[in-house]
Each structure stands twice: as C-alpha cells, then as structure tokens.
C-alpha cells in the first residue's frame, strides 16, 4: 500500500509531475521564508474576516494565495492533520437524521455533525455527477476543469488537491467512485492507493462490483460496495499507523460512495427497514406511486422503476447502508486516538429532487438539485461543535480548504475559497454570489444553462426551450413565482446579468 500507484506513466506525464515537484520545492522554499516572516508579525493576530488572502508572487505563473496568519493556527498541535473526505451520491441535503428527516437513520453523519458543524447553504454550481466530482478534486468551476457533462472526458488539465497534498508529504488515497469519462481510470501515480471501478460507465454496482486497485482489476472482497471500499480505507489507515510514529506522514483519504444512486439496492440486513415508513410526509403532494413516469412525461418509464414510494424508501436504505460504514471509520478513528487530529468531511456530489417542481433527479437549477449536504468535524478548528453555519459554501471550496488545513499554499487557478475562516468563526462573512452552469447531457431532458445565485436571487438563462428564470429566494424560497417578466424582475435583471458575466 505504501508503494505508489502501479499505473505506468505516459511519456508526457513524467515531465509534468517532475515540473510539479520542482514547483513544490520552489513554493516550499519561497513560502517558508515568507510564512516565517509573517509568523513573527502575526502569531497573535485575529483572522481578518473580510479579506483573509494576499496574493503572493513567486515568479512567473507560480502565484499562490497564502492566508495572512500563522499556518499553525489551523493545524492541530502544529502537526499536519489527517483528512478523511467522504462523498455520497445524489444525497438530498435534508435526508439525514441531523437535518431533521422524519425516519432515515444516519447515526454516523449525525455524529460528525454533533462533533462539528453543518453547513446549511452548500451548493454544486454544476449539478451533475462528473462535473461535480472534477470540481471537488480541482477546486474549479466546470468551465475551467473541462469536465462539463458525464460524456466529457477527464483530461487532468488541472492538478488535483490530492496531488498537491502528495507533493507536500501526505500519504494519499482515492477510494471509491471515480465516475468521470475517459479511457478507463486516469493515471495518478502520486496516489499511494487508487481503488476504483469502471464498471457500468463508472457507476459500479452495489453488489460484487469488480474493483481496480492500483491499475489491476480484482474481484470484490466484500459483497456490498460500501463495506468493500471502507475496508480499503481502514486498511490504508492501519498501514499508516504501522509506520514509525515520528516519521509517518499524515494521510488524506478521498472516499467516494455509490449509495444515493439508482438502482437502489441495500444489503439484506438493511433492505426493508423503511417498508413501513410514511413517505408522504417527505414527498410533495403531487407525487403518486406512478410519479416517476409523470415527471418524465412517461408512465412506462415510471413502471420500469416500480412504485415511486418504494424507490424513495430504497434510496434511504442505501444511504443508511453507507452511514453504517461511516460509523466504522469513526469508530476506528476513536480506537486509534486519531479523532483530535483528523478532519472528517461528509458531502454529497449533487442534491436530489424527489418530486419537487415536477422533477426527479439532479441537473435542474432548482435548490433541491444544487444544494448539498456538508458536515465537517475538526475538533481543533471548530470552537462551537454541534452548531450550524449559514454562509454559502460550494464544492469548489473543498480543495482550497483542505490545502489550507494541510498548510499547503492554495494555487491561483482554483476558483474556490478556503472555508477555514468560517470553520473557526461563525460570524465571518461568506460569499455573496456564485455561478451556475450546466451543459446539456443526453439523454436527460435539461437544456444547457448559465445563471447566478446570490443570497436573495437566482437568475438562470437556458440555451433553448425555456424562458429565463428569476426567483427571489427570500420572498419565494420554493421558487414558484418567476419574476423574469415582472417590473420587479426587470429592475434587478441588469445587475444580475452583469454579475453573471463577471464570472
């Protein structure tokens, strides 16, 4: 496990990696001087809540952002913390016990929330699987990283945060669902462990999914996929702990789960646990047992899925199955005394619409589709565990956040902002707007769109087939009244359009 990924590098990738290493050394040496000088000045400084970044030029094309306070403040006892980033799939932001869901059981996620914070306003600017996953890794909007829909290949044109962490001494593992188009899995030789699958468009299967471990296809060791990939994660941690305590590197595990994605299948011990749950208290009134077909203008398609009510119950079962394995990770961290020095994050790649606005699934720029569950525990960073943050967070923020926590400079090409100030202080001001962008994805029936979401408004322009949307989210959080053609709408529109074009 400690050996680097066995996937052979192409001729060109060696040069790129080598260049990155040189860049890493340059950055490290330059920044050491810089950070040390700042340390002297600002050891007792309070974080500037408004503009915490300074742009630092380290020569041509090597600008990074460095926060203007001591790195040690955001690390645990001066050590680089361990990182566990857990990603769910199509997880509706309120389908968790800690979010007040009436029947789903998610004790693992609830535990992270109890010991950390829940971000109540977290979004994916491009609510589709592959673009969102590329965004988590690169910290960039889809128009920059290039994975625009589930057919657009991952090119590796941007460096992932895992590579930056690896260059800075982290033991890194990507385990689970990669799900980005391309010829098989990409080459990521910097990873210490790369476990994923390409089965069924990279969606994998809930049971007996063939895995690819460091480039070699192997059969699954456990029948259920969450158990399978969690085992790899636990083994990775165990191997890390087996090293000499003084010299072992911090680790970062990116653990991407399948649950939340159809066709929903839970293991025997969980399957059926919500059979008696009253789903009508969660699903909107217009939904009926055939409803999936209604949403897609096609009852036949709905019938192929079975009862919509049962689909929702099974969706919840898969999330509970995933949570069961999140509990295993948390228990292991407790047993090994790692919790105090490990940041644990749970997020979803997209939201999920279960009947609202006559829609099923992801893609649409409605709130239920773009909102993500986001829960984080980092005991040394969060002064008020068990609370919530209302600032807007995005999936583009994860990469810069984790880099900052690891003490690694944030590359300039990342669009996201580190959320560390918000972790540390609930009163820090958040962003006031973000871009929405989507490229049509055959065969789903959502046209390409571009939009802007502010704290009050959401404006979306569609490529074809639909009139633009303009919603006042404060007055109309359910997004029922389109203000586009109204006097009020016309008044606010120029400013919103201008904001949108500024991205």
């Amino acid at each position: 496990m400690t050996s680097k990924s066995k996937i052979p590098a192409k001729a060109g990738s060696y040069n790129r990696r080598d260049a990155l290493k040189i860049l890493g050394v340059a950055l490290a040496s330059g920044l050491t001087t810089l950070v040390l000088s700042k340390l002297k000045k600002s050891q007792d400084d309070v974080i500037n809540p408004v503009s915490p970044y300074q742009r630092i030029s380290l020569g041509q094309n090597t600008q990074v952002y460095q926060r203007d306070f001591a790195t040690k403040q955001i690390q645990s006892n001066g050590k680089s913390p361990n990182i566990i980033f857990i990603l769910g799939d199509n997880h509706h932001f309120q389908t968790m016990g800690c979010a007040g869901h009436p029947f789903i059981q998610t004790p693992g996620i609830d535990q992270i929330a109890k010991e950390g914070i829940i971000f109540e306003n977290t979004f994916s600017p491009t609510p589709l699987c592959s673009p969102s996953r590329a965004t988590f890794l690169t910290g960039a909007y889809a128009h920059k990283h290039g994975v625009k829909n589930n057919h657009t290949p991952w090119t590796g044109q941007m460096t992932t945060f895992l590579e930056y962490l690896s260059l800075n001494g982290y033991a890194t593992a990507f385990i689970g669902k990669w799900h980005m188009p391309g010829e098989g899995l990409p080459e990521m030789p910097f990873l210490d462990l790369f476990v994923s699958y390409t089965y069924r468009e990279g969606q994998g299967a809930y049971f007996n999914c063939p895995m690819i471990v460091d480039g070699e296809e192997v059969p699954s060791r456990k029948p259920y996929i969450t158990e399978e990939i969690t085992d790899y994660a636990i083994e990775f941690i165990q191997a890390n702990l087996a090293q000499d305590k003084e010299s072992r590197p911090p680790f970062c595990i990116y653990l991407a789960h399948r649950p939340g994605h159809p066709p929903y299948q839970a293991p025997d011990e969980i399957s059926g646990m919500y059979d008696d749950a009253d789903v009508t208290q969660v699903l909107p009134d217009l939904v009926d047992p055939w409803w999936y077909g209604k949403a897609n203008r096609n009852v036949f398609q709905g019938i192929m899925m079975g009862s919509y009510y049962n689909q929702y119950r099974k969706y919840c079962e898969t999330l509970t199955a995933m949570d069961r394995d999140i509990v295993r990770i948390l228990e292991m961290l407790d047993q090994e005394g790692l919790r105090e020095n490990t940041i644990v994050i749970y997020m979803g790649d997209n939201g999920m619409q279960w009947g609202t606005h006559d829609c099923h699934g992801i893609r649409e720029p409605y709130e239920e589709s773009i909102r993500l569950p986001f829960i984080v525990s980092a005991p040394w960073l969060i002064p008020d565990p068990g609370t919530r943050r209302g600032q807007a967070a995005l999936n583009i923020d994860i990469a810069p956040t984790l880099l900052e926590i690891a003490g690694v400079p944030i590359p300039r090409d990342m669009d996201g902002e580190s959320l560390v100030p918000i972790f540390m202080n609930p009163d820090v001001e958040g962003r006031d707007s973000f871009l929405l962008e989507f490229w049509r994805y055959f065969p789903e029936n959502t046209p390409s769109y571009k939009g802007i979401r502010t704290q009050q408004y959401k404006y979306v322009e569609f490529e074809r087939g639909r009139k633009p949307w303009l919603f006042d989210l404060q007055e109309d959080p359910g997004e029922q009244a389109n203000l586009y053609d109204t006097t009020e709408g016309k008044k606010i529109l120029p400013e919103l359009k201008s904001m949108m074009e500024s991205y």
Binding site: E201, Q203, D285, G293, K294, R297, F300, G302, R440
Partner: protein
Amino acid sequence: MKNRGSQQRLWKPVIIVFIIALLSYMIYYGSRRIENQDIHQPLAALFGTIYFLAIFFGPLYIFTTNYVQEFSLGKRILTASAIPFLWMTKDVIVSMGSHPFLECLYWYLNPLSVWMVCLLAIEMGLGTILGRFLLKRRGQPIKVVSVGPVLSILIGAIAFGGIYAWGQGENLFSLYLDGYRLLFGSGI
C-alpha cells in the same frame, strides 16, 4: 369504397387504444391539480394503470383483432407497433427541448424502446395464437399453435428477461451511451 372500409377496420383497434391511452394520460396528469389527496391519489393510481396497460398491452389487442380480420402479417405488425411508436415519438419530441434533432432521433434506440420491441415480439406471438384460437372457435380448420409464434414468444421473452438479468438494464444503457458518444461525442 371496399378499400376504405378495409383501412377503417385495420386502424379501428389502433384508434380505440390510442383514445384510451390519451384519455388516461390526460386524467392521470390532470389529477395532480386536485388538492384533495383522497381524490388525487386514487385517480392517479387508476388512470396511471390504464395508461400503462394501453401502451403495454394495447398492441396485443390490436394484433389479435387484426389477425382475426385476416389482415396480412405486415399490416398487423404495422398497426401493433403504432402505439409504442407514438409513445416513443412523444419522448423524442419532449427531448427536443434540450437536444438537437439528430440526437433526439437516437432516443428511439434507448433501452426502454428495446424492451418494448421485445414485448411486441411476445405479444405478436401471443396475438397470433389467440387469433387462431378465436378463428377456430368460429369453425375455421386452423392449427392454433405453430413454430413461428412460439419462437416469437420465446425470443422476445429471452431477450426481455436477459436484458433485465444483465444488470437490470443498466449494462444495456451503458452500451446505449457508448453508441451516443461514438456518434455525437459529448454533445457539446
């Protein structure tokens, strides 16, 4: 005149199934406007079921009826396929709201359509046997079961079940998307 009468008889079962499907579709979709859930839910359940039955099993009725009326195999296939084709076409038109025309045509090949074709094969085999059975009861000396319809049923059933067994249709969907990318790339 004789030809017109023949055409009317040929298309009459199609029109009957189409009207049933259209009415049930409208009532099913319209039922959502009823706020009283005690009314909305039963209406949706009833007319959703009828709509489904019309698309699914309408071809069996059409094929059987036209067999009894002794229309040719080509005409029986044409009329039995009409409702599923209209159903697929409706979705092709809907997808034009997001995608270019040529890509929308590719929708016709999606796994649901493939399943529907498998079902049609089963229904045409069954319709032939049912039609012969009805004709025999009317006194025609006819062999009810023969190799042709039985093969049609078997091939349709094996294909239908095989697609389901092969990853609940997900693997076929993957192939469908491979085909899309081959023809249209990422589409953007």
